[in-house]
């Protein structure tokens, strides 16, 4: 078989060898606890500090102390929501969107059910764009925090978080953004932004899994999620994941250096993949907001077939991608993002996401373009919704219970 083609970088990325090299000494000779007073700590605490500056620089934050290292993006998201509620007891409402990652949605659902918090979930239109009017209407002085993702993990659709943050400020609410998919792919300048909090995750930018960070603008009222030692200035207790943090720092530095590559070369590759598929396969369309999208992501809905079957055939051809179909998630319904955009079920089940990275080559794109038409045609031949060479004009297939 040919070399594997990895186009599932929104799920996770390959650790950059340069990142690994930076981490290794902290598994071996530099194993000290950064809080210790003896010389084993020297070099370790500094390395954590250096990583903090590297992340600060990638985010364009004003102070390095605004970076709190966490165990993952999910922890950063949880911290942001819980902190906002705890630090603003007079405000018991949250505004978020229907297309957030479960790391926000499940937390909101829990807060709603168990803490009596009111949650406003702002809908999106058919292209995945936020309904600004509904957001405006939900804003009030009861809102503790507004949390909108910077970029959607399934479609890559970008929300205008800078403007959304300004709107939140007008009612005195905190603004958080889950930027797990955006950090490292889009330039940021948080020093000149109304965003109070931002979550990021190492494994989406070629750092290892199990490390993330929460950006917390200086002066923002805060309550820690984890209490214990004084680490991270008492804002996130627990002995630092030094190796992970060092890796995240290095990955941030590399991402900053590769920012232009991501937005030129990677974008061009993505566009070529998208155009190639649309030209060679009928009855498929790109989902999300095509003009406002991450440079590395394309999500295509193939009608009348099911996504897991597509992935299995792609996988046999050595290509890794992902799907919004029900069957791939273990849940029984298609992706909440596809449903929020009102994508018909016949297409939502067949939605397939290709997510590239600076690791992606022209040859990778060629490989997908070479096998995709045959895979889709093959599955459509099996589909009861598909006729000889197109969807059945008069659908004679109406299963017993629909």
């Amino acid at each position: 078989m040919n070399a594997p083609v990895y186009l599932d970088n929104n799920a996770t990325t390959r650790v950059d060898p340069a990142v690994l090299a930076e981490m290794l000494p902290f598994f071996t000779e530099l194993f000290g606890n950064p809080s210790s007073m003896h010389h084993y700590a020297a070099g370790v605490a500094e390395a954590v500090q250096l990583a903090r500056r590297q992340v600060q620089s990638l985010l364009g934050a004003k102070h390095d102390s605004e970076i709190i290292f966490t165990s993952c993006g999910t922890e950063a998201n949880n911290t942001a929501l819980y902190s906002a509620l705890a630090a603003n007891p007079g405000r018991r409402e949250i505004i978020t969107s229907v297309v957030e990652h479960p790391a926000i949605l499940a937390v909101c659902e829990h807060l709603e059910k168990n803490e009596g918090v009111t949650v406003h979930r702002i809908p999106v239109d058919a292209k995945g764009r936020l309904e600004i009017g509904a957001y405006q209407a939900a804003l009030s002085d009861k809102v503790a925090i507004v949390s909108f993702m910077s970029a959607n993990n399934e479609t890559g659709t970008l929300f205008p978080v800078e403007e959304l943050a300004v709107m939140a400020k007008e009612v005195g609410a905190l603004f958080h953004t889950d930027a797990v998919q955006a950090v490292g792919k889009l330039p940021m300048n948080l020093a000149d932004s109304a965003i109070d909090m931002l979550s990021l995750s190492g494994h989406k930018l070629h750092a290892p899994k199990g490390v993330g960070a929460l950006y917390l603008k200086r002066g923002t009222r805060f309550r820690p999620l984890l209490r214990g030692g004084h680490q991270e200035r008492g804002r996130r207790a627990g002995t630092e994941n030094v190796t992970g943090i060092v890796g995240l720092g290095k990955a941030a530095e590399l991402a900053q250096a590769a920012m232009e590559h991501e937005n030129t070369v990677v974008r061009t590759l993505r566009d070529r993949l998208q155009t190639g598929i649309l030209q060679s396969i009928s009855h498929c369309f790109v989902t999300g907001d095509i003009e406002h999208r991450l440079p590395n992501t394309v999500n295509i809905a193939f009608e009348y077939i099911e996504g897991e079957a597509i992935l299995l055939l792609l996988s046999r051809a050595g290509i890794a991608a992902s799907s919004g179909s029900a069957c791939t998630s273990g849940s029984l319904e298609p992706s909440h993002v596809m449903r929020a955009m009102n994508i018909p079920y016949t297409a939502a089940h067949g939605s397939t996401r290709f997510s590239l990275s600076r690791d992606t080559t022209d040859a990778d794109v060629d490989r997908v373009l070479a096998v995709m038409p045959e895979i889709i045609a093959r599955l459509r031949q099996l589909s009861p919704y598909w006729g000889k060479d197109g969807p059945k004009a008069t659908p004679d297939f109406a299963p017993a219970y629909a």
């Binding site: 390395a47 029900a326 016949t346 099996l382 589909s383």
Partner: protein, 307 residues
């Protein structure tokens, strides 16, 4: 990725009996696009003998749905209709060397299509389980009769299992109480005796050599090593900058020696010897790191004269 048996993979990658059966005289359509599964089963039945001469399928669904459909057509070819009616979803799953629990509903769909096709052939109204009993799961349109039969045939004991087999309860969860009632009714007092899971030993892995990420990082311009004089100048400059604040606390810092990245300082004044001198050291270290752009270490030291 699902842990599919080789048989499932084989039937998915190389499905047999796929496509339209033009001379079919029995057709069963089941499933629902909103659930992500739908199946048309087509049979050619010998009117004299009731033997299934040929069977074909068309399926919208995942790997295991396609494999289950294909396997079913293989299983029933040559059977009489009465024999075929005895085929359960368990039989389909067993034929495929098992299905992941979350995918058992694919085999249920196969068994239903078979019943529907035979009813269609016999000119009967297919007594769709879904119209027989009370609608339990509104999300996926599953009724009590189907849940009961599936619980009985498969010895299910939990709501989760019911969801895996029938999809009922996999949506909004509001019917979980009703499903629990069915489970209690069908299972009587029989407590579940769960089989211990077989834990497979993972194969040991060897590390592979990793290639650099593309694009290859441009080699960093080789920095000329700093001369000792340059180093000392830079350290002195950092110390100068912080001296005013040290002096405010009645303290001072004096450079004693430099060894690689380790800087030996003599600290005096109010904070010397107390725990906060650690903070001063950390503070100076930070400043040095900033100035040098790399990790630096500060070690408190005695004044030269005393060494």
């Amino acid at each position: 990725m699902w842990d599919y048996s080789d048989k499932v993979k084989d039937y998915f990658f190389n499905p047999v009996n796929a496509g339209v059966l033009e001379e079919a005289n029995a057709v069963g359509d089941v499933g629902s696009i909103s659930c992500g599964d739908a199946l048309r089963l087509m049979l050619k039945v010998d009117p004299e003998t009731d033997v299934i001469l040929d069977a074909r399928f068309q399926t919208f669904g995942c790997g295991s749905a396609i494999a289950s459909s294909s396997a079913l057509t293989e299983m029933i070819k040559g059977m009489t209709l009465d024999q075929a009616l005895k085929v359960t979803n368990q039989d389909i799953a067993a034929y495929l060397d098992g299905l992941p629990p979350e995918k058992m509903h694919c085999s249920v769909m196969g068994a239903e299509a078979l019943h529907a096709a035979i009813a269609n052939y016999r000119g009967e109204e297919w007594k769709d389980d879904h119209e027989e009993g009370e609608l339990v799961c509104k999300c996926f349109g599953v009724d009590a009769a189907l849940i009961e039969r599936t619980v009985r045939d498969n010895g299910l004991v939990t709501v989760e299992q019911v969801a895996n087999y029938t999809k009922a309860g996999g949506g909004c969860c509001s019917c979980h109480e009703k499903i629990e009632d069915i489970l209690i009714a069908v299972n009587g007092e029989l407590a579940a005796t769960a089989k211990p899971a077989i834990v497979q030993q993972p194969k040991p892995r060897t590390l592979v050599q990793i290639a650099p990420l593309k694009p290859e990082p441009a080699p960093a311009p080789a920095k000329p090593a700093m001369t000792m004089v340059r180093k000392i100048q830079l350290i002195e400059k950092v110390l100068e900058d912080i001296r005013p604040s040290l002096k405010m606390d009645g303290g001072n810092a004096e450079l004693i020696d430099v060894d690689g990245d380790t800087v030996y300082l003599h600290l005096t004044g109010a904070c010397m010897g107390c725990s906060s001198s650690g903070l001063t050291i950390a503070g100076i270290q930070e400043r040095l790191m900033l100035a040098f752009g790399k990790p630096m270490r500060v070690v408190p030291s005695k004044p030269t004269a005393e060494v």
